[in-house]
């Protein structure tokens, strides 16, 4: 993938999610973004980056090309100017993609310190560009990358350059002893709560006024939609006739899902969740020996997320999406209905080999294996151990024994018995081993 201005490459996980810097938080996702240069990369113009997934974080803009699993980044500190969002207001060109031009401080240009303008062309249909723009401005204003930088410097004791003086801004220490200290702390927390409530309400006010506009717009659209729906297919003059499809697309752009395409709204959320889940699940999988029940993943994942919990349906959908992209994990359903997540490299045969050898030990020959025995020896959860034993039974490796002691499994000796000669025990076979193990105890 040819890169623009040799923008620095961003690191991705194996599931095409960005690897975040310490303290970096994701703020907004926008699919279908093209990058265009301003032409100052001539005389050798480079191809623009197309149709990438833009991830806005508190520190960077990351452009991910999922097809090639590569990404580029623009660090926010290097942006010196953001041009206003360009959208034409005439009805036809409402389709032209909104653009945001940002000029960099030239650190990324191969030609030196000249500043360059990069245009982000938003072709994705499902996201309101105004929302992105708003978030973008917020993030630039917040300058969170400075907080992290100074925190790091404070921690490691490195000599900073000019930003060394910022360390003190954050650490406002005042005496906190005694009752006055407690009171002061309470006061501070009350004040900060108050402030954030105010901010929130401001946002809410803005939201409410927008909402009114939205509702009016939606009503107008709906009227138009109903009106055109009852017309026949006469499209004599397509410059003026607005088709029903256009109407539905407009509704999507302003963020109102139309009844027909409800499934596509939110598709991006599931995709990103799916990738995030694939990354998260790696460590627990290692610990659990390559296979973990879906229920366990649900608990672990939600616990890690803290807030913004996901529902079981979301989890299932996220796993189902794995088939569509190249991640090293997969969802698997056993005959009993138990669902697990396992590494694609997981080999059933390897597990069966271990079970088989466990079942041929003298103790197992005498008394069989219970699911908890297998769990203990194989180092996996009892529910999974039972699944493995059942699978081994299905393969003809084991036989079940149901008794007052419960369900146990023995190595399958039926195959060793010659029906024509039922008293025969070959001297070096499995049957012989079993006879030896069992007669000793008798």
């Amino acid at each position: 993938m040819a890169s623009l201005f040799r923008l620095p490459a961003a690191e991705l996980t194996t599931s095409c999610r960005p690897i975040f810097l310490p303290g970096e938080v994701e703020r907004c996702l926008l699919p279908g973004v093209d990058l265009e240069s301003d032409g100052s990369d001539r005389p050798t113009p480079l191809l623009p980056f197309q149709s990438s997934l833009l991830v806005l974080t508190s520190h960077r803009l990351v452009f991910i090309d999922e097809a090639s699993a590569s990404a580029l980044e623009i660090s926010l500190p290097s942006i010196i100017h953001i041009y206003p969002l360009k959208k034409s207001m005439s009805i036809r060109s409402m389709f032209a993609s909104p653009r945001v031009a940002i000029s960099n401080d030239g650190t990324i240009s191969e030609k030196g310190t000249k500043s360059t303008v990069i245009t982000l062309v938003m072709r994705g249909k499902n996201m309101d560009p105004d929302v992105f723009y708003g978030r973008f401005m917020e993030v630039i204003r917040a300058r969170e990358w400075e907080l992290t930088a100074s925190a790091n410097q404070g921690n490691t004791g490195l000599e900073g350059s000019s930003s060394g003086t910022r360390v003190n801004d954050l650490k406002i220490t005042m005496p906190v002893v005694g009752v006055s200290g407690i009171l002061r702390k309470e006061q501070e927390s009350w004040e900060s709560t108050d402030k954030s409530l105010q901010d929130a309400f401001q946002d809410l006010n803005a939201l409410m006024s927008k909402a009114k506009e939205m509702v009016q717009l939606a009503e107008k659209m709906r009227q138009k939609l109903l009106a055109t729906g009852s017309n026949s297919q006469s499209n004599s003059n397509d410059e003026e006739t607005v088709s029903k499809q256009d109407m539905q697309d407009w509704l999507l752009i302003v963020g109102i899902a139309s009844p027909v395409t409800k499934e596509t709204a939110g598709a991006l959320y599931h995709q990103q969740l799916s990738r995030q889940l694939a990354d998260f699940v790696k460590v627990p999988l290692e610990k659990a020996g390559g296979m973990i029940t879906l229920v366990d993943v649900y608990c672990l994942f939600n616990r890690a997320r803290g807030t913004e919990l996901i529902s079981p349906e979301d989890l299932l959908q996220a796993c189902a999406l794995w088939e569509k992209f190249d991640v090293p994990v997969m969802l698997r359903k056993f005959d009993s209905g138990v669902k697990v997540i396992q590494n694609k490299t997981h080999s059933d045969d390897e597990v069966f080999a271990r079970i088989s050898s466990l079942a041929q030990k003298p103790d197992a020959l005498r008394k069989g294996i219970s699911p908890s025995d297998a769990a203990f020896t194989l180092g996996i959860a009892p529910a999974l151990a039972k699944e493995h034993l059942l699978s081994a039974e299905n393969r003809g490796l084991l036989c079940r024994d149901v008794s007052a002691e419960g369900l146990r499994f023995y190595i399958n000796l039926f195959n060793e018995i010659d029906s024509a000669n039922i008293y025969l025990i070959k001297s070096h076979g499995l049957l012989n081993a079993w006879v030896l193990a069992t007669t000793v105890s008798c």
């Binding site: 079940r400 024994d401 008794s403 023995y410 399958n412 018995i417 029906s419 039922i422 006879v435």
Partner: protein, 179 residues
């Protein structure tokens, strides 16, 4: 080697899964085959003709390993014998099963061979004689189930090898064999 009466039990009789109905098809087929053969061998050895599911049957449990066949398992194995023509249900409720460790046809052949070997053609014997009389002592015919015997004789009658007729007493029947 374990024994049940005079019968030598095979080694796998002590294998606990042998007494649990196996769910996996191939394993089940092998298990059923072993049980069918074992039931026939045991019944032949012990001269057992009827297995009643309402009573304990010594072959169906192994106290040494504390395992017994479930009712379902017994029905499965006996039904398999019925399907093979080696057994018959005696009642609609499938509570009693007649075990034909020799088929009726085999019995008929056996009787015929016995008659020839002992020069009893053109002779007359009562059914009871055949079952418990002196001549048949030590042969398979000793202690044969009465119903089975009658059916075998009837088969011979159809082939023209014997004639059954009512005897002097009300219950007893006689048979005249022909060469």
């Amino acid at each position: 080697m374990q024994k049940l009466g005079e019968f030598k039990l095979p080694p796998f009789f002590n294998y606990p899964p042998y007494f649990t109905l196996q769910p996996v098809k191939e394993t089940r087929e092998k298990q059923v085959q072993l049980w069918k053969d074992l039931i026939l061998d045991f019944c032949k050895n012990q001269k057992i003709f009827v297995i009643s599911l309402e009573e304990d049957f010594s072959l169906f449990s192994n106290p040494a390993i504390e395992r017994s066949l479930s009712h379902e398992a017994k029905v499965v194995f006996l039904s398999a014998l019925v399907n093979d023509g080696r057994a018959e249900w005696m009642d609609k409720g499938h509570k009693k099963c007649l075990i034909l460790w020799l088929r009726i046809q085999d019995w008929a052949d056996y009787i015929l061979r016995f008659v020839r070997d002992n020069g009893l053609e053109d002779g007359v014997m009562t059914v009871e004689d055949i079952r418990s009389g002196f001549e048949t002592r030590g042969t398979e015919l000793a202690g044969i189930d009465r119903g089975v015997l009658i059916r075998a004789l009837k088969l011979l009658e159809q082939k023209g090898k014997a004639v059954i007729f009512k005897g002097s007493s009300a219950d007893d029947e006689g048979v005249k064999f022909s060469a």
